[in-house]
């Protein structure tokens, strides 16, 4: 039996029913709490001993988790290690996962916390990523970036994605943000999370997400203009 938080309070016509008896309402409630029903089903199966369920979850999220870790920590080797560490923690703690939040935000929360803690430790011992030291972009890319920022040229996502030098410049700008700002920009503009999900992943209030994201974008724009 799949149990969703708050589900036992729901009533359908004819009396108190569980989620499996009222999938439409279950989906609505799950969505309102950022719970992906498919994820919730897989987690429940996993907790009940179906090892195939975890494989599906891992396949679904490993690329996205690696991507956001890489964008935050800026080092492919560190990102690879941290991605594995994230799944180790996910597997170790799945028994403690109580479905109060979605698996998606829970797993991303682990990933972001691991990455930010790793960044703090690295900063404490004075390491800097070699990747972060690379000079990014050539003059043409800089001019293209300046044109987009100065309102002269509309950004074309496809063209930007194909322009390696321009992407490098943008990534360099993101790297120069402080960790808090970088994390929130990555979660919103790269991973596409909504504000409520970001608040859950970062363990903060919705208002803080709004103000921090606003400051992060302003800072990023200043950095990109200065490049």
């Amino acid at each position: 039996m799949i149990i969703f938080p708050g589900f036992n309070d729901l009533t359908c016509v004819g009396g108190v029913v569980g989620a499996e008896d009222c999938p439409i309402r279950a989906k609505r409630v799950a969505h309102s709490q950022h719970i992906n029903v498919e994820d919730a089903v897989l987690v429940q199966k996993w907790q009940n001993g179906d090892t195939g369920a975890i494989e599906k979850l891992v396949c679904k999220y490993q690329g996205r988790i690696y991507n956001i870790i890489l964008k935050i920590c800026s080092n492919p080797n560190d990102a690879a290690e941290l991605t594995q560490d994230t799944f180790v923690k996910v597997i170790e703690n799945i028994d403690k996962f109580e479905s109060r939040s979605g698996f998606y935000t829970w797993a991303f929360r682990i990933a972001v916390n691991l990455t930010l803690n790793y960044r703090k430790r690295k900063a404490t011992v004075g390491f800097t990523s070699l990747d972060a030291e690379l000079a990014a972009g050539d003059e043409q890319a800089r001019q293209g970036l300046a044109a987009i920022l100065s309102d002269d040229k509309s950004p074309d996502p496809a063209q930007i994605a194909e322009n390696k030098e321009l992407c490098e410049l943008i990534q360099k700008g993101i790297r120069e943000l402080d960790d808090e700002h970088r994390a929130i920009i990555v979660l919103r503009d790269i991973e596409g999370m909504d504000y409520a999900q970001i608040a859950e992943v970062l363990g903060t209030e919705l208002g803080t997400v709004k103000s921090r994201l606003s400051r992060a974008r302003a800072a990023l724009r200043q950095i990109l203009e200065a490049l």
Partner: protein, 338 residues
């Protein structure tokens, strides 16, 4: 419009482009944008900034990450969770042993450090040489006026507060001449009382009782033959029973300075300072020693002078009449140094 001073508008615009506003709020923002070109421009800037970041291509995880996670899953499927708990317990035991070892090492290091510090700053311990001293004659047994004067001095020494027992060990290759000089010097110094013991060839021991002024005069005379000594060592008694301070390569004026101190503490302190000073001079014989208060000379290595808390000639003011009292009890041992 300065958006840094209007963070709420900036937040509103960001929420607008992120589709996080209610229908009413969206309408308000759209009206603001229509009416205010500055806000409209800022909105475009934010949209462009967001578009730039969103356009970054996603990075694919390396094959080794995928393989690593698959291996993790295989281990998990194979039921390696149980060994994990055992590993955790082993890990905890291992960590405990490491903590114990680390604590032991730290305690050991602290002990060694403490011993080293004690060795450096603690009172030096040496064995006071045994000197055979004949009993001092009583006043009644003195015959000549000089002897009577000496006997009075001895009696005064025994009854007054003697400033302590010193032992001055002198080694010389020219034993016969130097010992004869010392003998003669003592004989011709009526202001001091002495006993000589010469029961071993090549060794003479003298026990001297005198005032501090008398000691100063004797040291001044001894200074003329000081260069003939290969080794000069002064041993000063401390407050602690069985503990002494040894001053190697001591100079006559240093002995007088030490004897001039009024308390055991100040004598011991000064003796330690001289011991340090002489030790440094021995290590760096070619360097000139300057006091820290003197003008620095850049061409010389300036070694800070040990801080003298007492004993400076200019600062000591002996009570009136102190020089007339018998206050010094000194053993001088002259040995033949072949």
């Amino acid at each position: 419009m300065n958006f840094e001073q209007n963070p709420k508008i900036e937040e509103l615009l960001n929420s607008y482009i992120d589709d996080e506003l209610s229908a009413d709020e969206r309408s308000q923002v759209q009206r603001l944008v229509r009416e205010n070109p500055t806000i409209a421009q800022r909105l475009r800037q934010l949209e462009r900034c967001k578009a730039l970041v969103s356009s970054l291509p996603p990075a694919e995880p390396p094959a080794r990450v995928v393989a690593g996670i698959k291996q993790l899953l295989r281990n998990h499927s194979a039921g390696t969770n149980e060994p994990k708990h055992i590993e955790n317990r082993r890990g905890a035991r291992h960590l405990f042993v490491r903590h114990i070892l680390a604590a032991s090492i730290i305690i050991g290091l602290v002990g060694i450090f403490g011993a080293v510090v004690y060795k450096i700053v603690g009172p030096e311990k040496t064995t006071m040489p045994i000197v055979a001293v004949q009993p001092a004659p009583t006043v009644e047994s003195a015959v000549t006026p000089v002897e009577a004067k000496k006997a009075v001095a001895v009696a005064a020494a025994e009854n007054s507060t003697s400033i302590g027992l010193y032992s001055l060990q002198l080694q010389t290759a020219d034993f016969t001449a130097v010992d004869a000089y010392v003998n003669k010097l003592l004989e011709e110094s009526p202001w001091l009382r002495y006993e000589a013991t010469k029961d071993q060839p090549g060794k003479s021991a003298y026990r001297i009782l005198c005032s501090r002024g008398g000691l100063e005069a004797m040291m001044s005379d001894l200074a003329t033959v000081w260069s003939k000594f290969d080794s000069t060592t002064l041993i000063v008694r401390t407050d602690d029973v069985g503990r002494y301070v040894t001053v190697e390569s001591v100079k006559p004026e240093q002995i007088a300075d030490i004897a001039r101190q009024d308390t055991i503490d100040s004598r011991v302190k000064l003796a330690k300072d001289f011991a340090t000073l002489n030790s440094v001079e021995q290590i760096m014989p070619d360097e000139k020693m300057l006091a820290a208060t003197e003008q620095p000379m850049p061409e010389l290595t300036t070694i800070p002078k040990p801080v003298l808390t007492s004993g400076d000639k200019n600062t000591v003011t002996a009570p009136k009449g102190a020089w007339d009292q018998v206050q010094v009890d000194l053993n001088i041992i002259v040995t033949n140094h072949k």
